[in-house]
């Protein structure tokens, strides 16, 4: 029995080493090589460059508080919102009083910046995403903000709505997967470039 334990322990150690090389180094190495050759932009983070400077990633949201920008969803990352080196959700329970108050504050902020708008506030606009980095808002949340943005920018409402339309993945994937989502970073970049 002792001999059996010794030979199996030796094999255990050797197998751990073998597989560390095979699936711990060679496998990710091959994947990195193939990824960088076949899909160089995506494999490096899908960054958006403007004049040679990285101004965002298609997949990573940014915080906005100015009335002239579409606001992203609230973010629970620390120490600041949309910290892409420290993803995180609020993990607040649905009946937590602190959480209810936080949402109340967000509702008030939205009502205050756009007092004439009496419509229902879409839920995603006042609740934090799971990642804290959600680059999207729902179509309803974009439409809710369209009037405010057009007034703040003195742009025609129709032009703003056309941009929303352009940056919406309306049909989702294969026409039915997922919900329609508007990319806030791309939309705000487009707004800035129309000035």
């Amino acid at each position: 029995m002792l001999k059996e334990i010794w030979t199996q322990t030796r094999s255990s150690f050797l197998f751990v080493v073998i597989f560390t090389v095979l699936v711990g180094l060679i496998y990710p190495g091959v994947m990195t090589f193939l990824g960088q050759v076949l899909f160089p932009k995506q494999a490096s983070g899908s960054f958006i460059e403007l004049n040679g400077k990285k101004v965002g990633s298609v997949l990573i949201g940014q915080p906005f508080t100015d009335a002239k920008y579409f606001w992203s969803r609230p973010s629970a990352t620390t120490p600041y919102a949309y910290n892409a080196a420290n993803s995180g959700g609020s993990n607040s329970g649905p009946t937590n009083p602190d959480f209810i108050n936080t949402v109340k504050g967000r509702v008030e902020a939205l009502r205050k910046v756009d007092p004439e708008n009496n419509a229902l506030i879409p839920m995603d606009l006042v609740t934090a995403s799971g990642s804290g980095l959600d680059p999207h808002i729902s179509l309803a949340a974009a439409q809710y903000q369209a009037g405010r943005v057009s007034r703040a920018r003195k742009m025609e409402l129709k032009a703003v709505e056309a941009l929303i339309e352009k940056y919406t993945e309306k049909t989702g994937w294969w026409g039915f997967l997922g919900d329609p989502a508007v990319n806030v970073v791309e939309l705000n970049l487009a707004l800035d470039s129309t000035r």
Partner: protein, 599 residues
């Protein structure tokens, strides 16, 4: 639920069944060594691995040696992983300059990854180097999955073989699982993920200039870390942030195996909710199929190896009966949303119909894909999440908790799901046999006292361990200190934490602060026993069954492929497995639900 939601959920189940059948057939060929294509290409590598590892692939093992090899392999792997975590600051590929992981956290993480749990008391991008993620954690994503698959194959051989001690060779079953099943499929999934935007790079974290700078207040502290106070209040400085640091790394290679091996340990803190780990609804579908495909396919593999495909199909149907209604329940309650918030956001024009409970969820997935993901990730022992379960509505959060309590048999972890489900089947035929006075048999093997003793160990132990750990958690100050939400929800957090760890799932009501010595150590105990206390008796049953003769079917044989058997199996899982938890569930989600409705 809307038509679109029905369609998406329906498509998932359709695609799963379409994939599972050929994959199950392929895996049977791999384990029975009947020629399957890839062996011609990589047979030399397989033989080289055996030679370097010093094992004779022809040598068969009895159940004790099989269990010994399995256990030693996992212990040695755990020691090596612990060393990597503790020494990562000296190891290469650490562009973000992460420091060594603390001893209690490293211990917890090592146990977590060798037991296929992948409970994470750390945030990946803020704690671990690229080397640790790749050569430490991702390796164990493969090894722990392959361990579960090997045990299952030995377990099935216990039914198929007769009058022998031999159950196969652990090293061969494990190596083949990786080389011919996990590795090639991971390569394909990884490339699909990269094409959609999942990073795969060794470049350091990148800085991005924000469109609109943001700011936050930071407490001022002196050089030795004591906070500075002015007139009794902590002094704050205003920090303006103009650049966002974006965490990158070899993400796709790790995400592919974390789903396929039902491991669930994310590269990033928020797992598959992170837009890099799961960029869109299409990748979300791929990830959901990856985390269920092998477990579903094993039902077909089981049927083929047992020489009667209906046996595998019956088990798969029983699993689906336990799964599908819970998917509906979860999506339904999440779509209803939180009535308190619905009231707050109502329009002044009277509109109240809102788009569901979006706290902790991502817009690109929406309610249906979040609810479906939560249900299957807890039904299998995966534990990856694409939404924060802690922020689900009380009854929406009840569903993942319930799935964990079923014992990870509804599809279940790769390998481990089916062997525990087959043990439930043994209990089911035993109970049925008692009721009608027949000798219980399953697949021609008589079920006797030894098998029933071992099956009881497997089935009764997890609830005892879960409830004992939860009791310790709620009655000690150290346990209560981890809770982040008040009231009944805080109780749910502790209950979920230990249920998830004993079940080797790894998802969490993640508000709980588990990175304390208390949770790190008690959690390690829960995960260790949750894995090996089940695996070893399972192998003992296999060893005992393999020694028996195969009894020819007679008029007294209870068929195990018909509707009656499926009903028996489902009832056994619910009554024996999960009913124990009703008082605990009543104190957690049910109380909170009633409280929410009354506010």
């Amino acid at each position: 639920m809307t038509n679109s939601q029905w369609l998406q959920i329906g498509f998932f189940f359709f695609a799963l069944l379409v994939l599972a059948k050929p994959l199950g057939w392929y895996m049977a060929r791999v384990y029975e060594d009947k020629g399957f294509g890839l062996d011609r290409w990589f047979g030399w590598l397989e033989r080289l691995i055996y030679r370097v590892g010093g094992v004779d692939p022809q040598k068969e093992m009895d159940w004790k040696n099989y269990a010994l090899a399995m256990l030693l392999f996992n212990i040695v792997g755990g020691v090596v992983l612990y060393a990597i975590l503790r020494l990562q600051n000296y190891l290469p590929l650490n562009p973000a300059g992460q420091s060594a992981v603390a001893p209690d956290l490293a211990f917890n993480t090592a146990i977590s990854f060798i037991t296929n749990t992948n409970w994470q008391n750390y945030g990946g991008e803020s704690t671990l180097s690229y080397f640790t993620q790749m050569a430490g954690l991702a390796v164990h994503n493969f090894l722990s999955a392959a361990t579960g698959m090997a045990i299952l194959v030995a377990f099935i051989r216990g039914f198929v073989r007769k009058e022998t001690k031999d159950l196969g060779n652990f090293w061969v079953d494990m190596t083949r699982s990786i080389l011919y099943i996990l590795l090639p499929i991971s390569l394909v999934i990884g490339l699909v993920l990269i094409s959609q935007g999942t990073p795969q790079t060794f470049a350091p974290y990148q800085n991005v200039t924000l469109l609109q700078p943001t700011s936050y207040d930071q407490a001022v502290s002196t050089a030795d870390g004591t906070p500075v106070t002015v007139a009794g209040k902590p002094q704050m400085t205003h920090v303006v942030v103009t650049e966002q640091s974006v965490a990158l790394g070899p993400v796709a290679s790790q995400v592919a195996i974390k789903m396929l091996g039902t491991n669930g340990g994310g590269f990033y803190n928020v797992n598959s909710a992170h837009p890099y780990e799961n960029p869109n609804a299409f990748t979300n579908m791929i990830e959901m199929l990856a985390l269920t495909a092998i477990s579903a396919a094993f039902c077909f593999t089981f049927g083929i190896m047992a020489g009667d495909k209906r046996q595998g199909l019956a088990v798969l149907l029983a699993m689906l009966v336990l799964l599908v209604p819970m998917v509906y329940l979860c999506v339904h309650f999440e779509q209803q949303g939180n009535p308190i918030l619905n009231h707050l956001t109502a329009g002044k024009d009277g509109a109240v119909l809102n788009n569901g409970n979006m706290e902790g969820k991502e817009v690109r997935f929406g309610i249906a894909n979040s609810g479906l993901f939560a249900t299957i990730t807890t039904g299998t022992s995966c534990g990856a999440v694409n939404a924060m379960h802690d922020s689900f509505t009380p009854m929406g959060g009840f569903v993942p908790l319930w799935m964990l309590m079923l014992g990870e048999v509804v599809l279940g972890g790769v390998g481990s799901g089916l062997y525990v489900m087959l043990i439930f089947a043994i209990v089911a035929v035993f109970v049925a046999g008692l009721m009608v006075g027949r000798t219980p048999e399953y697949l021609g093997k008589k079920i006797q006292a030894f098998e029933m003793k071992m099956a009881s160990l497997v089935i009764l132990f997890p609830p005892v361990l879960i409830l004992a750990c939860t009791a310790i958690g709620v009655t000690t100050a150290a346990g209560r200190a981890g809770v982040s939400n008040p009231g009944a929800h805080g109780f749910s957090e502790i209950l979920y934490a230990f249920t998830s760890q004993v079940a080797n799932n790894g998802s969490a009501f993640a508000g709980i602060n588990g990175n304390t010595p208390f949770y790190n150590l008690l959690g390690s105990v829960a995960m260790w026993f949750g894995r090996f206390w089940l695996a070893i008796p399972a192998l003992a049953i296999a060893g005992s069954l393999a020694r028996k003769k195969i009894v020819p079917q007679g008029s007294g044989t209870l068929p195990t492929h018909n509707l009656l058997f499926i009903v028996m199996l489902v009832s056994t899982v619910i009554i024996v497995g999960a009913l124990t938890f009703f008082p605990a569930l009543a104190l957690g989600p049910v109380v909170e639900h009633l409280k929410m409705l009354n506010q």
